[in-house]
C-alpha cells in the first residue's frame, strides 16, 4: 500500500452518493472480507487496506460511478489499471 493515509476514498464515496452501509454491501458483494467498521477506517485513512482490499473498494465505487454515467475515477493499486 503505497498511498498515504487520507480520506480520499471517503471523498469518492460522498461523490458517488453512497452511504457507508451501501458501500460495504457492494464491497461485500465483490468479495470483500473486512467488516463495516474496518471499511469505515479505510475510508478515513485510519487503517490502511491491503492493495487487494483497496482495489475491491475502488471497484465498488467505480461501478457506482458507472451507474451514474461517469467514468472510473478511483485508481487501482493492483494490476487492474493495466487493462
Amino acid at each position: 500500500m503505497s498511498e498515504p493515509a487520507s480520506n480520499v476514498l471517503d471523498v469518492y464515496r460522498q461523490e458517488a452518493g453512497l452511504s457507508q452501509g451501501e458501500l460495504w454491501l457492494r464491497y461485500f458483494e465483490l468479495g470483500g472480507m473486512s467488516t463495516g467498521f474496518e471499511l469505515e477506517a479505510y475510508l478515513f485513512g485510519m487503517l490502511l487496506p491491503s492493495d487487494h482490499d483497496h482495489d475491491v473498494i475502488a471497484h465498488a465505487l467505480n461501478e457506482r460511478f458507472s451507474e451514474l454515467g461517469g467514468d472510473h475515477p478511483v485508481a487501482y493499486l493492483g494490476e487492474a489499471d493495466d487493462a
Binding site: 471517503d10 457507508q20 454491501l25 458483494e29 468479495g31 485510519m46 482495489d55 487492474a80 487493462a83
Partner: protein, 391 residues
Amino acid sequence: MQWAAQAGFEREGQADACAMSLNGGPPDIGPAADSPAGESRVNHVVNEEVPQTALTGLLDAAIDRQRATAVLDLSAHSLKRTGTVTDARDAEERLASFGVTLTDRFPTHLVLGLLDLIEMDHDVPSPVGVDEDSRQAALRSRGGVAEHPTNRDGALPARRKVTALPTDPDVVDGVLRLVAEMARALVHGADGVSVSLLRHGRLSTVAATDHTIMEMDADQYATGEGPCVDASIKGRRFHSAVLDDETRWPAFTPQARKLGINAIMSSPLRAFDQPVGALNIYSRSCLAFDAADQATATDLAHKASVILSDAGAGVNDDQMALRFHDALLGRRMITLAIGVVMEREGVGEDAAFNSLLRLALYHGETLRGRAEIMVRSSSEHQGQSGSGSGV
C-alpha cells in the same frame, strides 16, 4: 430540549479552550475540570432560544484571544433546533474573516450532510490546521468528527467528515426538518416545504414548514393521489407548474387550489435505491420553479436520500434481506469465477481477482456480469467435455 456545544481555541499547540453548553444561564469562566494543566475554559451557558447570542459571545472570545483555530463540538446537539447549524455556519464565516479556522465536530454524519447542504450556495473557505489529534481521538471513540478534508487534486470543495451511523428516528426527523427549512430558503418561489416519508408501509409528513403544508400533504394521503404520493411511490419527480391546468390528480388539485397553492414540485427520496418519500415544495405562484430551482430541489433530495440510506430509513427488514440476498448471490458468482481463473491460469486468489477485474474493465462490464459469463462459459465447456468423453 437542550443542546450543548463546546468550542476549543488552539494556538500553536497551546491549550486554551472554551466550552459552551446552551441550556440556560450566564457565562461562567474558569478552569475546566477535565482540562490539561494551564488550560482555561469558558463555560458559556445560555438559553436554547438564543443560541446565536451564545455563539457570538464565544466567537468574540476566540477573536479577542487571537486564536488561530477554533473547534466547535456539537456532540450533544439533538438537531431539534434547526437554526443551530446555520448559526454554526455563520460563525465559521465570521471566524474566517478574522483569520480563525473553525473545525466542527459532530456526533453523526447527519449534521455533516446538512452542512454540505448549507454549502450548496456558498463556498466555505478551506481551513488550515485541522486538529488531527482530536480528529483521530474522536474517530477512535466513534464519537464522530467533522472536518475539512484534504481536497483530492484540489478539485473538490471542502467537505466535512462523518463517522457514526444514526438510526434514531427522532434524529432523522430533525434532519429532515432542517432539509425542509433549507429547501424553503434555497428554492426561489418556495412558500412551503414538507418531507413525506414511508414508515411501516404508510406515508406520513415528518417535516413541514407550516400547517397549510401539513394540510396539503394530508389531503394527498386522504385522496391517495398527488405529486407527493406519486414521487414517494414511483421514485421520480412530479412537477406541476400551473395547478389550474393540472389533470393528473382530479381529487387533490381542487383542494390544493382552495389552500391557495398554484405550483408543486415533489422530488423523490430514496434509501438503498428504493423510493421512500418525497421532498415537496409548494408555491402560491404559478410557474414558480425554474430550471435552477428544480436542480436545487433534486440536489437537496439526493443529499437527503444519502442521509436516509445511512440511517436505514424506510427500509424494512424484508427489503434489507432481499438486498443482502442479492449481494450474496453476486458474491457467490464472483467467487466461482475467481476459482475458474485460478484453475485456468494457475494463479492465486488475488491474482485471479485482478485478472477477472481486468477482463471486466476491458469489456466495460460489471465484475458480477463478467463473472457470470465466465462461469457460464466454464460450465458449457465442462458440459461439452463430459459429452465428448461419453461418446
